[in-house]
């Protein structure tokens, strides 16, 4: 690495454009709402920045605290499910032959490249009352019912008088399903990377010394893959915590997450200072998670973040 003074021309030419962009269109907007978060609303559009903490105090009211708790809980459950599902998938990919490995990885990443809105919409089409899952269940029910009538048990309504479609949409479960659907690749990739880095002779050495596969998993694979597991947990948890679209489209009235509340403050409720305060609380939670991850993985470098 060279000192910038050695070739100042090249330094400034490459330094200024991205820096200006970041300052003007990222740091300035963030600073603006950061300032707003210490203000009060004085009119429809007027905001007085009085450096008060009252917006943050308001965010700690039970109503909003419970939404924060709910968001953390939903993100936590999602992350946990992703971890349980992604671990065997990552193991299967890592140990597959090179060609199959490439295809499997591609298959796991591909949904990543599909528009989030479209994926969410696809889930709605599958899960809604008149959607594919219920349609399939109804078909199964009708056949089962027909069978019952056929064997003479038709009058006892053993499986209900009539098919009741399941309410699969607009509740917390639907939101968690949607979040898992979106976040799963985030978990598979770091786990895959960690397992791929893991020297197979560690596993072989453990087997060679008499340990079974389960013992080897807990005493060798998990401890050695810990940085990858930590990464996976954090990069699944953080975007999930800040999810807006999934709870908005799949959730019911009681499954709003923090991002939905923020959106309301900036749009329908038109209370920018409070929305700004909530935004910064969400950001601080994010930074806390990232710091935790840095602490756990103890590795640096920009390249590790994606």
């Amino acid at each position: 690495m060279d000192n910038w003074r050695k070739s100042p021309g090249a330094f400034w030419a490459s330094f200024i454009p991205p820096t200006l962009w970041l300052l003007a269109f990222f740091l300035a907007p963030l600073s603006l709402i950061w300032a707003f978060s210490f203000g009060v609303k004085t009119g429809i559009t007027e905001i007085d920045i009085t450096w008060t903490f009252q917006q943050y105090a308001r965010a700690l009211e039970p109503l909003y605290l419970s939404i924060f708790a709910k968001s953390l809980w939903m993100a936590g459950v999602t992350t946990f499910i992703c971890l349980i599902v992604a671990f065997p998938v990552a193991i299967a990919i890592v140990f597959a032959p090179p060609k199959a490995r490439m295809w499997l990885l591609l298959l796991v990443i591909l949904p990543f490249w599909t528009n989030l809105l479209i994926r969410t919409y696809a889930l709605i089409a599958v899960l809604r009352t008149r959607g594919h899952v219920n349609f399939t269940l109804e078909w199964v029910w009708e056949n089962a019912n027909g069978f019952l009538i056929f064997i003479g048990l038709g009058n006892f309504n053993l499986i209900g008088e009539r098919f009741e479609p399941l309410a699969l949409l607009y509740n917390n479960t639907a939101v968690v399903v949607g979040l898992v659907y979106v976040a799963l690749p985030f978990m598979v990739l770091p786990l895959y990377a960690a397992l791929d880095r893991l020297d197979r002779s560690f596993i072989e050495a453990s087997l060679d010394l008499g340990a079974g596969h389960i013992r080897t998993f807990w005493s060798v694979v998990v401890p050695l893959a810990l940085p990858g597991i930590a990464s996976g947990i954090v990069i699944t948890f953080i975007p999930t915590l800040g999810s807006y679209l999934t709870p908005d489209l799949l959730g019911g009235t009681d499954s709003q997450m923090i991002a939905n509340v923020i959106e309301r403050q900036f749009k329908s409720a038109n209370d920018w200072p409070f929305g700004a305060a909530l935004s910064f609380l969400l950001m601080y939670a994010t930074f806390f998670g990232l710091a935790l991850r840095a602490l756990l993985t103890k590795r640096e470098g920009m390249g590790d973040r994606v």
Binding site: S201, E204, S206, L207, D208, L209, G210, A211
Partner: protein, 366 residues
């Protein structure tokens, strides 16, 4: 160097073992071998010859496509890697980085459910054995490469396996450390009396350590013999060429009575040699068996050829003379620089005679 500890009682029997990868890559091809109890046995060959695959089949990490592996009298077909009476020292050592030295060494005993007190006693004992006494509480990243290898050794030996498998154990060490470790491995093997099977591509390593060596090439075992036997009596061209240096002349041979053949291999013609190979053959002689003189040797029994000195390479204690005899390759002769100051005593371009005794001549069928 046949050791007293080894017997003729087989501990490993490999019967007609073949390993096919994919649909047609024959990594190990119809190999049969016997390793005796207490022996220091080496699998030697160039990379990709199948030696590591064979070793991993003994450990249970690969399953033979065909054939049988018997260890200590038991067929290993249904025995998983973690239930086999063998332990392995990995090429990368595979010392668990998240465990202390003592935890690493004691891992196998912990799995076997050995009492904690006994584990710590045996760990200390094993560490003493590999000269790492007192380092039990260190983490692997605080150790040198050589020390890490000793941890791997102690970790494998502590389970008192019937056979210890070593996969290129010295390849990651620097030259000096490697030599010291060679001697130490031999000492260790004699001390514990466990059968060692080592995989290596380094002939010097195999020759200096092993009681017996199997030379492998592209999946086949080419010869199994003691180091001296391999060097002086290779049974085929590959082994002769792979181990040490050798002069080779291709030609043909026809029968010439009881145990004799008549060989023509440029620049030799109509030489009657001991041997049975006929048809396409290869005549070979080790460079240190080749004599160089200015006059034609008087002894008419010697095989002698006239040529001119093409190149001289001085190595201090000896010199290599490359003598052009009109064949495809020059004849290599290793001359001891017995007299101070004059080196080999020949000049480039000088006309000389190279000669060697018929009994030093090797004859391979091609």
């Amino acid at each position: 160097m046949q050791s007293d500890a080894s017997s003729n009682e087989p501990i490993i029997e490999i019967n007609d073992v073949t390993k096919i990868y994919g649909s047609d890559v024959r990594a190990v091809d119809n190999v049969s071998l016997t390793v005796n109890r207490g022996e220091f046995f080496a699998l030697l060959g160039p990379s990709g010859c199948g030696k590591t695959t064979l070793l991993r089949m003994l450990a249970g990490f690969e399953t033979p496509t065909e054939g049988k592996v018997i260890i200590d009298g038991d067929d290993m077909a249904e025995v998983q890697a973690n239930k086999r009476p063998v332990n392995m020292v990995f090429q990368s050592y595979a010392v668990f980085p998240h465990m202390t030295v003592a935890q690493n060494v004691g891992y196998g005993l912990k799995i076997d459910g050995v009492a904690k007190k006994e584990i710590s006693a045996r760990v200390e004992e094993a560490l003493e054995l590999v000269k790492l006494g007192g380092l039990g509480s260190r983490m692997p990243d605080e150790l040198s490469g050589g020390q890490r290898q000793r941890v791997a050794l102690a970790r494998a030996l502590i389970k008192r396996p019937s056979v210890l498998l070593l996969d290129e154990p010295l390849s990651a060490l620097d030259a000096k450390l490697r030599e010291a470790m060679q001697l130490e491995l031999v000492r260790l093997q004699k001390t514990v009396g466990i059968t060692f099977v080592i995989v290596t591509h380094d002939q010097a390593e195999a020759l200096s350590m092993a009681d017996r060596i199997a030379v492998m090439e592209s999946g086949f075992v080419r010869q199994v013999a003691s180091p001296a036997e391999l060097y002086e009596h290779p049974t085929n061209r590959f082994v002769g060429d792979f181990i040490g240096q050798i002069n080779l002349f291709s030609g043909s041979a026809s029968p010439a009575g009881e145990g004799k053949v008549n060989v023509s291999a440029a620049p030799l013609s109509d030489q009657v040699l001991d041997g049975t190979a006929t048809g396409s053959v290869c005549v070979a002689v080790r460079p240190e068996k080749v004599n160089v003189s200015r006059d034609k040797p008087a002894d008419s029994n010697l095989l002698s050829i006239q040529g001119s000195v093409a190149d001289i390479a001085y190595y201090g204690g000896y010199s290599n003379l490359y003598v052009d005899v009109g064949a495809a390759d020059p004849v290599l002769a290793e001359i001891t620089n017995a007299e101070r100051g004059i080196g080999p005593g020949y000049a480039q371009g000088e006309t000389v005679w190279v000669s060697w005794r018929p009994e030093d001549t090797l004859l391979f069928a091609e």
